[in-house]
């Protein structure tokens, strides 16, 4: 019925959940989809900043849950895309102000009117994470090609599986192809070899991302950005389109390189 609820989560903080949520939201809206973004990172809201909508906030998610406003009133319409909305997180409250049941109720109200509901999850595996995944039809795991981020992603995937929320799909963010080529960074294959879930996108490290976030214009609106192009491709894959992966040559993997160093075969 109606919208598909997609939660973006990671375990580790700072890997690019908010960046991914904002860019996928904008990309889906550009494809003509009706989209609402929910910032479930209560207490540490920042999806509104990345979306450039901070100055329009009147009500937030906690106001909706606690009945201080109608759901409609907390939905901020995007400046450029009239079918793209944001429900911001509360700045001052903690995650316990909201329950998983509240999230299910809110998304159920939104489902008939939208094509996609994207939920930006907080880091960690506690209440905020459970709130964010409770209503999910599909979960996107964002990770970086780093051992510690992959470890946390693996943990999250295990928790999702235990709660029958799988199978999640994987976004590997901040890949530096040069470093991968030199064997200094895990390749996409190294990451999927451990996580063993379906890969839906590889987003390169891109210096356009930070200024775009700062100015509130998600990077996917910049046609020159490689990260932006990667997010557009992920959005198309979410709609069911079969989009081939941009080639990222990594003939020698990180672990192979490591092995060589240890066995004295290093270059």
């Amino acid at each position: 019925m109606g919208a598909k609820v997609i939660t973006v989560t990671s375990g580790k903080g700072g890997v690019g959940k908010t960046t991914a949520t904002a860019n996928l939201g904008v990309s889906l809206a550009r494809l003509g989809k009706k989209v609402v973004l929910i910032d479930a990172d209560v207490g540490l809201r920042n999806l509104d900043i990345v979306m450039g909508l901070e100055n329009r906030i009147v009500y937030d998610l906690v106001d909706v849950v606690e009945g201080r406003c109608q759901l409609r009133q907390a939905m901020i319409k995007h400046k450029q895309f009239p079918d793209l909305f944001l429900i911001p997180a509360a700045q001052t409250r903690d995650k316990t102000a909201i329950s998983p049941a509240d999230m299910i109720q809110i998304t159920d109200k939104l489902r008939p009117e939208f094509d996609y509901i994207l939920i930006d999850s907080p880091a960690g595996i506690e209440r905020g994470f459970r709130n964010a995944v409770a209503p999910a039809d599909e979960v996107l795991i964002v990770t970086n090609p780093e051992v510690s981020a992959v470890r946390d992603a693996d943990r999250i995937i295990g928790l999702l599986e235990a709660n029958n929320k799988g199978p999640a799909k994987l976004i590997i963010n901040r890949v530096n192809p040069d470093m991968v080529r030199r064997g200094e960074m895990m390749s996409a294959d190294d990451v999927t070899d451990i996580l063993a879930i379906k890969l839906i996108g590889i987003v390169p490290e891109d210096e356009h991302v930070i200024p775009a976030s700062n100015s509130g214009i998600p990077v996917t609106l910049n046609e020159n950005s490689r990260a932006g192009a990667a997010f557009r491709n992920i959005a198309r894959r979410l709609t069911g389109e079969n989009v081939p992966f941009l080639p990222m040559n990594d003939s020698v993997g990180f672990f192979q390189r490591l092995a060589r160093l240890f066995t004295g075969q290093g270059e």
């Binding site: 051992v147 470890r151 946390d152 693996d154 943990r155 995937i157 295990g158 599986e161 235990a162 451990i194 063993a196 993997g253 672990f255 192979q256 490591l258 092995a259 240890f262 066995t263």
Partner: protein
């Protein structure tokens, strides 16, 4: 009398003392579990309530309390018909005979490993990071053991998949314990009191191997068709 928690090969045996207030005992149990949550997480629970009649509400809320701690209530042992009925209605095992043969002989773990060499837990999925499995018997995993996952078994550990996490076989001191895997690249492998880490060049074509203790040292041997030789040497 306090709540007794004991690892047995079927899982964690929780024995509630007779004559104590239910709420008090449950609070005590919760506190004890929370203190060692990392150790217990993922275990299944056998609850021995003795002759006490337990209501459906009490059992349901206990089950939820355990689930919040990532523990599954699996069996309820009781001499009370009411309790047994309630437990069965909740789809829990109740038959003492096939759950714990030694329940009435107080110390169940005296049974020698040789005699129930086949007892253990079977895990039919990949153990991901953060998962910890403890067993007083053997552990069989049908799936991978990822980095960050941990298995501690008094007996043997068999991984039908890639072993990349941490594993301790013969954890109570059994030097005859073995670890088998289709791809043996554990973060750390222990058998009884011995310990090895994988050499970093282990990224090669996976092959089935078995780790065992020989001359006070862990050795890893490939499985081959001449397996008679391999087993005969033990």
């Amino acid at each position: 009398m306090t709540v007794a928690i004991k690892g047995i090969k079927e899982g964690l045996l929780v024995t509630l003392p007779e004559g104590e207030e239910w709420q008090t005992m449950i609070a005590d149990l919760a506190e004890r579990l929370d203190q060692q949550i990392a150790f217990f997480a993922g275990a299944r629970i056998l609850l021995d309530v003795g002759a006490r009649p337990v209501t459906k509400h009490e059992l349901t809320s206990l089950k939820a309390l355990l689930e919040r701690r990532d523990l599954a209530l699996w069996a309820v042992l009781s001499d009370s018909d009411t309790t047994i009925e309630v437990a069965q209605a909740l789809d829990l095992k109740t038959s003492t005979a096939n759950v714990i043969p030694g329940r009435d002989t107080s110390e169940g773990s005296e049974v020698s490993p040789e005699e129930d060499g086949t007892a253990g837990v079977m895990i039919k999925r990949t153990l991901r990071s953060g998962r910890i499995v403890h067993s007083d018997g053997h552990v069989v995993v049908l799936g991978d053991v990822n980095p960050g996952a941990e298995i501690v078994a008094a007996g043997d550990v068999i991984v039908w998949g890639r072993l990349r996490g941490t594993v301790h076989a013969g954890a109570s001191g059994d030097e005859n314990a073995v670890v088998c895997a289709l791809d043996m690249t554990p973060t750390q492998l222990r058998i009884a009191g011995h310990i090895v880490i994988s050499p970093p060049d282990k990224r090669r074509r996976p092959k089935p191997e078995m780790a065992l203790v020989r001359d006070s040292q862990i050795v890893v041997e490939p499985w081959h068709e001449d397996k008679e030789g391999l087993w005969a040497r033990r």
